[in-house]
């Protein structure tokens, strides 16, 4: 990426991805305001924020293999932002449930967490995302040193939990969670295989 064109492209790249990542939210708001959600809008909001949280998790997991395959650094520069967007949509998802669905009915909320395995797993996934988001700053990376990498291995666990959460939330049609399960498996498998054309020594999964 040499030359003025490359520099301009680089300057615009991140903001562009940033605003693109907000589009699912914009869509959701637009559909909500124009009456294009279903007759049960709270359910739609729950599903759409949940699925986008999962999609951003997968995109963030794609960064490292993409870096290896393309030999270019830009995927890694996006990794943190993609991970934070996963957290952002997961927060919206959780808030939808707490506020719109349960309306702070703590008895029901606690009983759901205790009794419904799919909710329990969702909460575990969310709790695992919190320290990842909290230690995503440059300062935290420096401060934690090698521990940062250990901690961020949680990023492999979260999508597994989320896919099970998704799977257990459907009644009979498992096609969609199955698709995501396969994508997660694939993204984790490429790390195990580690056929790294760039040289294993420089890999940073």
């Amino acid at each position: 990426m040499a030359g003025p064109a490359g520099i301009t492209a680089r300057r615009w790249f991140k903001p562009l991805v940033f605003f693109t990542a907000l589009l699912p939210l914009a869509w959701l708001l637009a559909d909500g305001l124009t009456n294009h959600l279903s007759a049960n809008p709270i359910d739609d909001i729950t599903d759409r924020t949940g699925i986008w949280a999962l999609r951003f998790l997968l995109l963030s997991l794609l960064a490292t293999p993409l870096r290896r395959w393309t030999g270019r650094p830009w995927p890694l520069r996006l990794r943190r932002m993609l991970g934070l967007f996963a957290f952002f949509y997961a927060c919206l998802h959780l808030l939808t449930w707490l506020v719109l669905d349960q309306f702070f009915n703590w008895t029901e909320i606690l009983s759901d967490i205790a009794k419904r395995p799919f909710i329990t797993l969702g909460l575990l996934a969310f709790l695992a995302l919190v320290p990842l988001a909290a230690t995503s700053t440059r300062a935290a990376v420096k401060r934690l040193g090698p521990q940062w990498r250990q901690l961020h291995r949680l990023a492999y666990l979260v999508p597994v939990l989320v896919v099970i959460h998704f799977w257990w939330s459907v009644k009979a049609d498992i096609r969609e969670p199955l698709l995501y399960a396969m994508l997660v498996a694939l993204l984790l498998a490429v790390r195990l295989l580690r056929y790294a054309p760039m040289g294993a020594s420089r890999s940073s999964s």
């Binding site: 559909d31 294009h36 007759a39 049960n40 309306f103 009915n105 009794k115 009979a172």
Partner: protein, 312 residues
Amino acid sequence: MYQPPQVRPSEITPEGVWQQRRRIMQAGALTLAGGALSLALPWPARALTTLGRIRPSPLSTREETTPWKAVTHYNNYYEFGTDKEDPAEQAAGFQTDPWSLRVDGAVHHPRTWALEDLLRGQTLEERIYRLRCVEGWSMVIPWIGFPLADLLRQADPTGKAKYVAFETLYDPKRMPGQRWPILKWPYREGLRLDEAMHPLTILAVGLYGKVLPNQNGAPIRLVVPWKYGFKSIKAIVRIRLVEEQPPTTWSLAAPREYGFYANVNPEVDHPRWSQRRERRIGEFFKRKTLMFNGYAEQVAGLYRGMDLKKYF
């Protein structure tokens, strides 16, 4: 991306107009025929284009009905897709003409009915019922139909008949959802004979004064208002009187989650959802779910002495 369903404005009955229509009917001006309505509305040609006289029923609730648009564009009907907005779209071209319904098994008079014959001479009633889905949402729907007991009496069950088994059409060409083994097709449901004979149990052929839309189970479906919605099987082609409790689709799919009885019961949770509360479609705050969906007075007697936690 989500496409808003194409509904002609004329297909939507404004609430006010409908309420007014209902008052007219209740006032006794009962000649207001579904026929006149359907002539005025652009329904595709099908066997059933008119409902004839419709009688109000004392069994109807006075609660505010869920708007037509929600009733017809938000439901589960896996034969036409697993998203709740799929049936409205995917059932649009479903052909229900001709349609026959076989009633047999432990009966003195087995018969294959052509739908027209079944409805000939039948006085249809409007039954405004609450519908509670096992997923935790509910509606109030003005069905048009007749008591299942009427049909069963004509078939004349023998002494061996203890249960009634129902079956939906199986035709993957016409029901695209059946091309995937998501459920064990065809969809099957069942009732105990006394439940089937109960005056609240109806076969519905209409909705909001009109012929039943395809996505709601046309041309003929069951409605059992004190049970979770999945018991109310759609597009029925066979009713069989049997001696043993028949297998039913959802309890085959997940026996721990769905029982044969599936009575609405706030005390018995589904593993995935608490059943204590429900969201009435169109409302923000959840309401308490009522025992037998609010029909306890009429039906609790059917289950006297039964452990409803065991027979869920």
